[in-house]
């Protein structure tokens, strides 16, 4: 009798395990699985000015990458930011088809990417936040920042009673995340959202518990628009949150928001779009409430293009322009300006050239805003300045 019960139990359990595995497998499918790659056009959401570089790489000076190159390394290793990981894996897969070069990318986090390039344990690092002056000094040589893609961070919330999209100002966002605004019917919130007048509920604040480039962009914005935030909390990949609960990863924050009525958190734009999360509008520098989407992010990039710093360590938050979404940021490749290994230097410069030209048309499909023309041009300059044993490394095609 015990024998049969055992067997029954085991088979029952096997069934449960199989179901769980199947469910997990289903859940981890990238949300981008339904392939839209066949559509040759860049997504229509792009601003006209920004859609050019992808289609016309030749007009920007140097050639395009059409195939393998004699004497280049066949393998490159990179590590860093998780935010562009989906994009990079798509890019590098395509690049492998074009040139046969294998690019291994480990999405271990921006901090890990910075550490990797500083110690020269990887060929390139990747980060959502530019390196600090101290970090640059600690590296084994001059490190270049080359922007690859743009993203944005959006406020998402759980508010069943109000059907209208909520509107936030720099003041209200900072107030909520500082713990100064604690109720949804706070006068400051009601001023822009009359529907909140009757919601006499505590605001539950959700933030990231892990260090992240998403947090970096979010607090960069709050620091830029709010004195009190800048003075007491500041900028970083993780900060000392005055209030709130922490969720791990975008999915953790989204899950907490979904689970907690009257909560508010922040997630990457891509994540919000893919999972159809409610995203609030944010008042930009020009005083307009802007819906976060690829359009308004590229508009923000265009807004700051005029005054890009020479080292390309720019911040995109609170950008100028009527249509600019204010909470946006870039993600960078980090590479050494002088690379002694010629084969690697050639392969890496070619990869980056392809990234900022041909690869840009793959960005929008995956929910990343493409680089505007001005940034591509600056990136080209940087790539051309890379040397191997003193000689320019980029072969020009």
């Amino acid at each position: 009798m015990p024998k049969t019960s055992n067997r029954l139990l085991i088979s029952l359990l096997a069934l449960v395990v199989a179901l769980v595995v199947a469910a997990c497998g289903g859940g981890t499918q990238p949300a981008t699985a339904p392939k839209v790659t066949e559509a040759p056009k860049p997504a229509p959401t792009m601003a006209p000015a920004a859609s050019k570089p992808a289609d016309a790489p030749k007009t920007t000076g140097g050639g395009s990458i059409g195939g393998p190159f004699q004497g280049e390394a066949k393998q490159l290793n990179g590590a860093g930011a998780t935010f562009p990981a989906a994009l990079y894996s798509k890019w590098f897969n395509e690049y492998n088809k074009v040139t046969g070069v294998q690019v291994n990318y480990q999405s271990i986090g921006s901090g890990g990417g910075i550490k990797g390039i500083s110690d020269a344990t990887v060929d390139f690092g990747a980060s959502d936040a530019p390196m600090s002056d101290e970090q640059l000094k600690a590296a084994k040589g001059e490190v270049l920042h080359i922007p690859m893609a743009l993203g944005a961070v959006v406020p998402t919330y759980n508010m069943a009673e109000v059907k209208d999209v909520l509107k936030f100002t720099p003041d209200t966002l900072a107030g909520i995340f500082l713990g100064d605004i604690t109720k949804w019917n706070d006068a400051k919130l009601v001023a822009d959202n009359p529907a909140l007048a009757n919601i006499n509920k505590d605001i539950i604040v959700i933030h990231r518990s892990d260090g992240s480039g998403t947090t970096s962009i979010w607090v960069d914005y709050l620091s830029t628009v709010n004195q009190k935030w800048a003075g007491s909390v500041g900028r970083g990949t993780s900060v000392n949150w005055p209030v709130g609960l922490g969720g791990k990863g975008n999915e953790g924050v989204a899950g907490e928001v979904k689970n907690n009525p009257y909560s508010i958190g922040y997630v990457e734009l891509i994540y919000a779009i893919q999972n159809k999360l409610p995203a609030g509008q944010v008042k930009n520098k020009a005083g307009k409430f802007v819906t976060p989407d690829l359009n308004s992010v590229t508009a923000a990039a265009a807004g700051i293009s005029a005054k890009l710093p020479a080292d390309l360590r720019f911040s995109m938050v609170n950008a100028e322009g009527e249509a600019s979404y204010p909470i946006a940021g870039a993600t960078w490749f980090l590479v050494y300006k002088e690379m002694p290994d010629k084969a690697k230097a050639v392969a890496l410069t070619r990869l980056m050239w392809w990234n900022i030209h041909d690869a840009q048309k793959l960005s929008a499909e995956l929910g990343y805003a493409p680089l505007p023309q001005a940034m591509v041009a600056k990136g080209e300059e940087k790539i051309k300045s890379i040397t191997t044993s003193g000689q320019p490394a980029f072969p020009g095609k």
Binding site: L9, V20, G111, V243
Partner: protein, 322 residues
């Protein structure tokens, strides 16, 4: 000839013996050596933070990577409270279940139930975490915590434990999920311990005319006590180091230490797992390594305390031993 052979074989077996002894001796020191290496490495990386913050690292509860203020008090508090909470909830349940299985349950029921409990112990913690996140925490928020607040919350002093807003992601939920996770560990070891109580102990007690309960009370439990405490220690060890499941239900917030169990908290293991990857500054990284050193220390202290407890309790009368 035969004597020679005998001598030879004895000689070589003697040699083999000492060789064997020496090799297992070195094996015995492998774990010791590993522990020392581990502590040395942690110490080396943690030193910059420990030197800079000193005692403040253990006594303050601000964790601010931006302005480089690191204090682990809130994390130590969260670790200790959730682990002890888990232990306090799980131990009586586990021993009760073990007693039933070992002493009351009919034979046909023992096998399947014990098998299920052992399987529970083998479930990866992330699965408990997901369940906690999607099922337990919402239930705590909507039903259990408001109930506790209304009933126990009104009692002076004790009520402080059950005050404040009920969010469901807090020390209590984390303690509860830990209790569920360590329950199978404690149950299955307790069951073995109780079963290993010699039959003549029970028979003797029953022979004296004791009831079943008296038999358990006076013959089984005293004999099994050290083993039961050992089982609880193993459960505690698992609770202390548990990371993923706790991270998903504890709220990951270190802003304050309050008496309320409804406060979102943070444990040492969760902080390390959450923040290690993006710790880009030297001192930040060092502070996180220091946290793992603290975690090691906390487990050591709690284990030593538990062992002292075992020593204390085993000194008393133990029933009749063979």
């Amino acid at each position: 000839m035969s004597a020679e052979l005998l001598g030879q074989s004895r000689g070589s077996s003697h040699q083999g013996d000492s060789l064997f002894e020496r090799s297992i001796l070195s094996l015995a020191f492998v774990p010791v050596g590993l522990l020392l290496l581990l502590v040395a490495l942690l110490w080396y990386d943690a030193w910059p933070a420990l030197a800079r913050y000193g005692v403040r690292f253990f006594t303050t509860n601000t964790w601010d990577p931006v302005f480089e203020n690191f204090g682990a008090a809130a994390f130590i508090y969260g670790t200790v409270i959730t682990s002890l909470l888990g232990l306090v909830i799980a131990t009586p349940l586990a021993i009760g279940a073990a007693l039933f299985l070992a002493a009351y349950a009919p034979e046909w029921l023992q096998g399947p139930v014990a098998f299920t409990i052992e399987l529970l112990a083998a479930i990866p913690s992330i699965i408990y975490g997901l369940w906690g996140f999607f099922v337990l925490a919402p239930l705590m928020r909507s039903t259990v915590e408001p109930f506790l607040k209304e009933t126990l919350g009104a009692i002076p002093i004790l009520g402080a434990l059950f005050s404040g807003p009920t969010i469901g992601k807090d020390l209590l939920t984390a303690g509860l999920i830990l209790a569920i996770m360590i329950l199978p560990t404690i149950t299955s070891i307790s069951r073995e311990v109780i079963r290993s109580v010699p039959d003549n102990q029970r028979e003797g007690m029953l022979g004296l005319g004791a009831t079943r309960f008296e038999m358990i009370r006076y013959a089984v439990l005293p004999y099994a006590r050290p083993g039961l405490i050992g089982a609880a220690i193993l459960g505690l060890a698992r609770a202390l180091g548990e990371t993923m499941a706790v991270t998903m239900v504890i709220g990951n917030s270190s802003t304050r230490i309050t008496p309320s169990l409804f406060t979102p908290g943070y444990t040492l293991a969760s902080v390390i797992a959450n923040q290690f990857t993006e710790a880009d500054k030297e001192i930040y990284f060092s502070a996180i390594v220091a946290l793992s050193l603290v975690l090691l220390l906390v487990s050591l202290v709690l284990n030593v305390m538990a062992r002292v407890l075992v020593a204390r309790t085993t000194r008393g009368p133990l029933g009749v031993r063979n």
